[in-house]
């Protein structure tokens, strides 16, 4: 009954937190106790969420949500998806809540229910350490600055862009924005002050030159009208953290006195990042392997359908091939992971979405390879086999397909390698493949170039080994 009441109350009063005080005092909250909630977050928003040297997700948001969960007696499963991806996942009910250093805005309140604010933020501008030309907004005239897509920094930068006559180039991740500034492609970055402060303490090569603009407050969000219990529990837990001093401890840990990180050598970076990167490599390999098998099945079916006599069968296959060859892979990743669940109301496992994306895209190319391979076999081969009394299927199986496969093998190996590299696009939906893991690492330590270099070498070696293996198999089976 209490649970039902809480749910209704939260539904009616939105994110007012009115229900928080009514829950039983002390640890535990009967409405959420023992449940597990999936919480979406950003990948790269230090000090709110980032991976520490051991590859564990840490930061202010993480500490708060975990402390609240412990206090209220529920469990959280954190999904680090990226800011936009996390919000889309929330809309499509892929996650129960989002905590991602997200400002509470009126637009967002239309689609999400917010908790009480848990952090008062503000925007600050930073430039490259060695840049002495930009001392204030006036110096931005005719220049380009960067800010995070959909974040408060972007809103603020755009609000003064006309007045000071500069352009805003929006990016998805703090680390990318800092790289843009360091590379000179943008002269300044507008970002949330705690993020900037933390990055500067990590030797990210920037410095702040203006004062903090007092800004919005960060809140924890659930989908509109959903998970009212969770929201109430969050408010309740947060109030307790603030009351018993735990909240201040968490903030101090990340913002109180950021100790400047000692720059470590490349080899230390390699050593500390390798475990996480190899985990990413494993996911890259597994998702590529599964997707390739599925793509082969789809491609073989569609390829044979393309040479069928029946015009409808042919039409189905041609349509499939044209649709998936004519649209970007990334679009389908978003479609499967965010779009379809919103249409059907059924959440989709990220592996399923990843395999569907890669295998349907590749399947279209494999279909063309199969069709081309079969059609390149001399029709006299089929005639000779049929004239011996073998049926169409047997003739295909014993005579045409083995020869077609021999011709198809180099193209198929090529397709496999393309797929392995294309799987990196899955980072956009938060799939923890190799490049994604690399992003996680440089998001926390800001050593973008070195990390990307290591990731690149790993991809290169993986592709070389795969090519060698495939060529060996080719020689072995296609004598």
């Amino acid at each position: 009954m209490v649970a039902a009441f809480l749910a209704v109350a939260s539904l009616l009063f939105g994110a007012t937190g009115a229900a928080a005080d009514t829950s039983a005092s002390g640890s535990g909250n009967s409405a959420v106790e023992g449940k597990t909630f999936v919480i979406g977050t950003d990948t790269t928003f230090a000090p709110f969420e980032f991976r520490n040297a051991d590859g564990e997700l840490t930061g202010i948001d993480m500490d708060i949500v975990r402390a609240v969960a412990e206090d209220q007696g529920f469990k959280v499963e954190i999904r680090s998806l990226g800011f936009n991806a996390a919000l889309q996942a929330l809309t499509s009910n892929q996650v129960d809540g989002v905590i991602a250093g997200m400002s509470i805005t009126d637009e967002r309140k239309e689609v999400y229910d917010f908790s009480e604010p848990y952090f008062e933020s503000g925007v600050q501008m930073a430039v490259a350490k060695g840049n002495d030309d930009i001392k204030g907004y006036e110096d931005l005239k005719g220049k380009t600055v960067t800010a995070k897509t959909g974040a408060e920094g972007e809103t603020y930068a755009k609000s003064i862009a006309k007045k000071y006559d500069f352009k805003v180039k929006s990016l998805d991740q703090s680390a990318s924005m800092y790289e843009l500034v360091k590379s000179g492609n943008a002269v300044a970055v507008f970002d949330d002050y705690p993020v900037l402060a933390y990055g500067i303490a990590q030797n990210n090569g920037l410095k702040t030159v203006t004062d903090k603009v007092p800004g919005g407050s960060y809140g924890f969000a659930v989908n509109k009208g959903k998970n009212a219990d969770l929201l109430a529990a969050f408010n309740d837990g947060l109030a307790k953290l603030k009351a018993d001093g735990e909240y201040d401890k968490i903030l101090d840990k990340y913002l109180g006195d950021p100790t400047a990180a000692q720059p470590t050598s490349f080899w230390e970076l390699l050593e500390s990042s390798l475990p996480a990167l190899l985990k990413g490599l494993k996911n890259t390999m597994v998702v590529t392997g599964i997707s390739f098998v599925v793509a082969m099945i789809i491609g073989l079916a569609a390829g044979f359908m393309k040479i069928a006599r029946n015009i409808i069968v042919r039409g189905i296959s041609t349509t499939f091939v044209n649709v998936f060859r004519g649209t970007p892979l990334l679009l389908w990743a978003f479609m499967f992971y965010f779009g379809i669940p919103q249409l059907t109301g059924l959440p989709i496992n990220i592996w399923v979405a990843a395999v569907l994306t890669l295998s349907l895209n590749s399947g279209a190319y494999v279909a063309e390879i199969v069709r081309g391979g079969i059609q390149s076999v001399d029709p006299g081969q089929m005639e000779a086999s049929r004239s011996l009394g073998l049926g169409y299927g047997k003739s295909m199986q014993k005579v045409v397909v083995p020869q077609a496969f021999k011709m198809m093998t180099p193209s198929l190996i090529n397709q496999l390698i393309i797929m392995l590299k294309d799987s990196s696009l899955l980072l956009a939906i938060g799939f923890a493949e190799l490049l994604y893991q690399g992003q996680q690492i440089y998001a926390a330590n800001f050593r973008v170039t070195e990390t990307l270099f290591i990731v690149g070498v790993i991809y290169f070696v993986a592709v070389m080994l795969l090519t060698k293996l495939a060529n060996f198999a080719d020689r072995r089976f296609n004598k």
Binding site: E383, A384, S387, L388, K398
Partner: protein
Amino acid sequence: MSASTTETARKLMIEVRGLRKSFGSNEVLQGIDAEVAEGEVVCVIGPSGSGKSTFLRCLNKLEDISGGTVVVDGFDLTDPKVDINDVRRHIGMVFQHFNLFPHMTVAENVMLAPVELKKASKAEGREKAMELLTRVGLAEKANARPAALSGGQKQRVAIARALAMNPGIMLFDEATSALDPEMVGEVLQVIRDLANSGMTLVLVTHEMGFAREVGDRVIFMADGVVCEEGTPEQLFNDPQQERTKEFLSKVL
């Protein structure tokens, strides 16, 4: 030749009535009537494009038949109830360009049909293949790939392959046309042996000397019809039709 005297008493292996075949609007066969008796050797000659290959390919339904009837070894090919794969096992076919399966060894080419059609175990199939390869003089090439053979050798393997299902009829479509001249003899010798063994043969050929030698009957085709037919003596020495005379004057 004794063919003409005993022909009527012998079983008909092939009976073609009013056969028509069109490719789109192009009618390539315009009503062909022909009969081939058991054990008979019939040579089909005629200018290029006259429809000889198409006629031959209608006899095992590699081409769909547009009109008329074709009865082979008692099977009516135009009857939809007849399983064409069954019929084809009774008819061996040899192509101008051999069409050997390049991904299989010579022996595997020969044993494919008996093994796949469950007429023989692998061991029996191989034994049978060796027997046939010995017959065409290529037993020592059993484990070679077709690519390693000369044209003449390839065609002899193709003949052995066509014989593997013990067909009652063999069809040859210009079996020697793609060969270098020095290899023609070895292939003709294999065909000659087949003719002498009493096998029913239909040979589309440009080798007029050979047609005269082994043929019981010669059919001259022109423009999609049978223009003239008769014994080799009649047709080559005393042609009745102008088209026949004109053709023979060019090739003899």
